[in-house]
């Protein structure tokens, strides 16, 4: 997926995204980072077709994304949001089955193949023993996995995640990131996500895209672009960037 000089604004006065160009290489994990209000979620929502860019072009396999029919696009891109809504009495299995809708005509029943895909999505996200449970009986981490499973059931090449770890504790955050890494390494999914934690972003991404004030200010390999002055510039925070063999590159915030 690549995008060229895309701009976005809700009204004429304030431009939220100014002229951004970039590429999300196939089969890689790309992570967008940046301070609050820098436009990273907006960028993701344009790429997922939730919003339409004011100008510029976004292409998948050389084709403009807005030329795809809704169901065709749903077979290419799955999206998981930070907050999701569903009726609380819906069971895990039924919610995940929604992921097969792009492959169904109206009123068509689930086929054996659909069931297999659903089983596959459930086993990858380790929800086997929860499949009959209603959503309100799940923990936050499990619930986020259900939404990922639903996107997986769409059998897309690309998976977008908007701050998937925000409301989770450390264990579930890592569990989720490991799942995302597995999906990328084993199943070749192209991942594009927005993260807040820079250490996690550095550790799990092949490519970092750093945004500030509606613009991409840096992009590339995490080890090459993350340094003390970049973080100071965009977050206004003094950090110490360290490197060691066990942990790779990591940074420790020192103060504002």
């Amino acid at each position: 997926m690549e995008f060229k000089s895309i701009q976005f604004s809700y009204d004429k006065e304030k431009q939220i995204l100014k002229d951004n160009t970039g590429v999300f290489p196939a089969g890689k994990i790309s992570t967008i980072i940046g301070p609050n209000g820098s436009g990273k979620s907006t960028l993701l929502s344009l790429l997922a077709r939730d919003e339409k860019s004011t100008s510029g072009s976004i292409m998948i396999d050389g084709k403009q994304i807005h030329t795809f029919k809704p169901k065709e696009f749903a077979k290419l891109v799955g999206t998981v949001y930070q907050q999701n809504e569903a009726p609380i009495d819906l069971t895990v299995e039924k919610l995940i089955a929604f992921g097969r809708l792009p492959y169904k005509r109206a009123f068509q029943k689930l086929s054996l193949e659909d069931e297999e895909v659903i089983d596959w999505a459930i086993s990858l996200t380790k929800l086997e023993d929860k499949r009959e449970r209603p959503l309100n009986q799940l923990s936050g981490g499990e619930r986020q996995r259900v939404w990922i499973a639903m996107a997986l059931a769409q059998k897309t090449k690309m998976l977008f995640l908007d701050e998937p770890t925000t409301y989770l504790d450390m264990y579930y955050q890592l569990e989720l990131l490991e799942l995302i890494q597995l999906l990328n390494r084993e199943y070749g999914l192209t991942i594009v996500m927005v993260l807040h934690d820079i250490n996690q972003a550095v550790r799990y991404s092949d490519q970092l895209i750093v945004m500030c004030d509606g613009e991409i200010v840096a992009s590339g390999l995490p080890q090459e672009i993350v340094n003390e002055s970049l973080i100071k510039d965009i977050y206004g925070v003094d950090v110490c960037v360290e490197h060691n063999i066990r942990t790779g590159l990591y940074l420790v915030p020192l103060g504002t």
């Binding site: 809704p70 949001y81 809504e85 569903a86 809708l101």
Partner: protein, 327 residues
């Protein structure tokens, strides 16, 4: 038998019992035997009265209840708001004003009542949408807009009635917006369009289920959210308009029934829609039967009974609205 099927059976049995009770009670009373005999041989004058007056009333009450309840389910689904009810948000008032309008200016047209009711309901629906869209269809905003729309159309209707009485224009019994004096012609209208609307509602139940997710999520899954929203709304307006044009404005049915139905059988629209239809029929038929037997020969209209039960219920829902499904 699981619990959900059990509720289905219970409600159906209750509906049959109340129907039987309703047929047999009233100022003219007959026995079951006489009813059945008349069915085959005819000739019983008392039963003929029941056939001409009581049967139509019962059928109209049931279909009005079913249609308004299902309209409520649909509005709640598309507006993502558990407080949406055709009466509360002004759809019924719009339908009521326009059907009176149609009756006055195109009286010859057989279909004019329901057709004009549909146009009026659609206008009211459009007004509510356009004025609460920017707030992300916030529940309170919808209610407030609905009250305004409702007041406006009720006022217009009253003005029209006043003008009619000034010029001595007779409106006929079909204008009386209660369940009394229903004819078989009216039964035909409500049964025909009622069944059409109910079947369509059942067919779109998968869409309703999908709209319970966020709009953007439904879009991600390849759904055309706006088109489905317009179509579901149109079906809901059809149901509400038909019920209103035949049975008058009855508020709160579409609020009470779907809410209780969700508690009993869950939020899956494939069950919720048929269950609400049966339960709504039961509720209005019960209200009407009680209304005409409690203080006979005087009558309390079913709409009055519903307003008395429904008012406190709306307050109750508003109080706990942050916990209710959908918001």
């Amino acid at each position: 038998m699981n619990k959900k099927n059990f509720y289905f059976v219970i409600v159906t049995i209750l509906l049959l019992v109340v129907t039987g009770f309703s047929v047999l009670s009233g100022s003219v009373s007959v026995t079951i035997k006489e009813l059945i005999m008349d069915l085959f041989y005819g000739g019983n004058e008392e039963v003929a009265v029941i056939r001409d007056l009581r049967y139509p009333r019962i059928i109209v009450a049931m279909f009005a209840g079913a249609a308004l309840s299902v309209a409520g389910v649909l509005f709640q689904s598309v507006m993502r708001n558990p407080l949406a009810d055709a009466g509360v948000i002004g759809i019924s008032a719009g339908a009521s004003f326009f059907s009176l309008f149609g009756m006055l200016f195109l009286p010859g047209l057989y279909i004019s009542g329901p057709l004009f009711a549909f146009i009026g309901g659609s206008i009211a629906c459009f007004l509510v949408y356009s004025m609460s869209w920017k707030s992300g269809l916030s529940p309170l905003r919808i209610i407030l807009t609905g009250i305004a729309v409702s007041a406006m159309f009720t006022g217009l209707r009253e003005a029209l009635l006043m003008i009619c009485s000034y010029f001595n224009i007779a409106l006929g019994p079909s204008n009386s917006s209660t369940l009394t004096m229903k004819t078989w012609a009216e039964v035909e209208i409500i049964v025909m369009y009622g069944i059409l609307g109910l079947v369509l509602a059942f067919l779109v139940s998968p869409w309703c289920n999908l709209l319970a997710l966020q709009d953007k999520k439904a879009k991600n899954l390849g759904m055309n959210v706006n088109v489905s929203r317009i179509m579901i709304s149109a079906i809901a307006v059809l149901l509400a308009a038909v019920a209103t044009s035949v049975a008058g404005v009855i508020v709160f049915v579409g609020l009470l029934v779907p809410h209780i139905a969700r508690q009993l059988i869950g939020t899956d629209h494939k069950r919720l829609i048929p269950f609400s239809a049966i339960a709504g029929a039961l509720l209005i038929l019960t209200a009407d039967t009680l209304g005409r037997t409690l203080i006979a020969p005087l009558e309390i209209p079913a709409s009055t009974i519903m307003a008395v039960i429904g008012g406190p219920f709306l307050i109750f829902l508003l109080r706990k609205s942050d916990k209710v499904y959908g918001i």
